[in-house]
Symmetry: C2
Subunit: 203 residues, 2 copies
DNA sequence: ATAGTAGTTGACTAACTAGTCGACTATGTT
DNA sequence: AACATAGTCGACTAGTTAGTCAACTACTAT
């Protein structure tokens, strides 16, 4: 079956790291190759362009991420608990990245999506697809919470949009200000948005 | 007093447009010059770098914008009315940009800030400065609203952060999805966040 | 009118960038 | 062993990018 290699995976890891710590514009194919320890000829053996490797890497990372998201948003977990766990999970990632790179990095999908949406159609479409998928976790949690009477949110889709805007906005603010602290308010902010009475908030 | 010229202003206009419609990474000095109808030699007569012209342009644009913001957030206007007017104003700008460029562009400060904050210190600092200044308009409006008993927000600074995160997040979602419609929920979303009773909402 | 000042220009260099290609190497199959 | 397949590599081209510079032009005050 020919020569074996993990170069493709290394390239995808490298591009993700560069996109997240920097930006699409600051990420060059030369840099990706250098970080992956792969020569450019090999890059073009696997991918056609920067957009191509970005789409592949985002997709692969999301597929891996889904396992954790499915656990966090499992319907066996009470709705508010799902949201609280998601916020904690996200916070832990940001802490890890800040320790590793010196910067709060925020949500790579959101930052990258905002940067390239007017220019790189294919990347934008992949990002939209993933963000939409993630939105459904929230919509379901909110629908379940409403059904359980934990809070009042008859239009779960609309409430989910509001919550997502807040969460993504907060993550991006954290990136711009390079400040982890503001992220600690995330779960509380979401609960307030949902009109959860303090007594109902899971420890 | 030597030769007169509006080339400096044209360059600042051009860079703003390119940054807003595209990104920092996609905006080159050559493109800026081309759009401004100015040769590169002249560019370097006025500015030292892309970061330099960006900072100057953002600052100038914000100074111009402040006049409108001061009117919208005038203390003679009822607090909720200020917020409603701000949302309407922002929506009108997005409509105008979509008509002009074919894309919903969102908040240039937020998009740009998220893109460059790990790389271009000077630009990041200017963006933070402007965003902080804008945040104070909201904080004051929320403090005034609480004092007037229109809603309950004893910690105006914290509530302002939540509201800003939501607004910026929503604007960025609109950019990513190229969708004007979701912006129409903005004022309503903010009012819900503040716990305003529907009866109090200004027409 | 002329001299100083402010702004303009085109032609240049050097570095970087994307993308190509043919020769090469490692692995599994027969 | 030898062959097909999968992957690697270095050297290459061509276009783009940032940045420089000396010569030039327009304006104003005296």
């Amino acid at each position: 079956m020919g020569r074996v290699s993990d170069a493709k995976a290394r390239l995808m890891d490298a591009v993700l790291e560069l996109l997240w710590t920097g930006s699409y514009g600051s990420t060059t194919i030369d840099h990706i190759c250098e970080r992956a320890g792969v020569k450019k000829g090999s890059f073009y053996y696997f991918f056609n362009s920067k957009a191509d490797v970005a789409v592949a890497a985002l997709d692969a990372a999301f597929q891996a991420n889904r396992v954790e998201l499915d656990a966090i948003f499992s319907s066996s977990v009470p709705p508010l608990e799902r949201i609280r766990k998601y916020c904690e999970f996200g916070y832990a990632i940001q802490v890890e990245m800040k320790a590793k790179f010196g910067y709060v990095l925020g949500c790579p999908l959101f930052t990258l999506g905002a940067e390239i949406c007017t220019q790189e159609q294919a990347v934008g479409a992949k990002i939209s697809e993933i963000l939409e998928y993630k939105a459904r976790y929230f919509e379901t949690a909110i629908r379940d919470g409403h059904a359980a009477g934990v809070f009042h949110a008859p239009d779960a889709a609309a409430k989910s949009r509001v919550v997502r805007a807040y969460i993504e906005g907060l993550l991006t603010q954290a990136r711009i200000q390079n400040d982890l602290e503001i992220l600690r308010e995330m779960a509380e902010g979401v609960f307030n948005m949902l009109g959860v009475k303090s007594a109902e908030i899971p420890a």
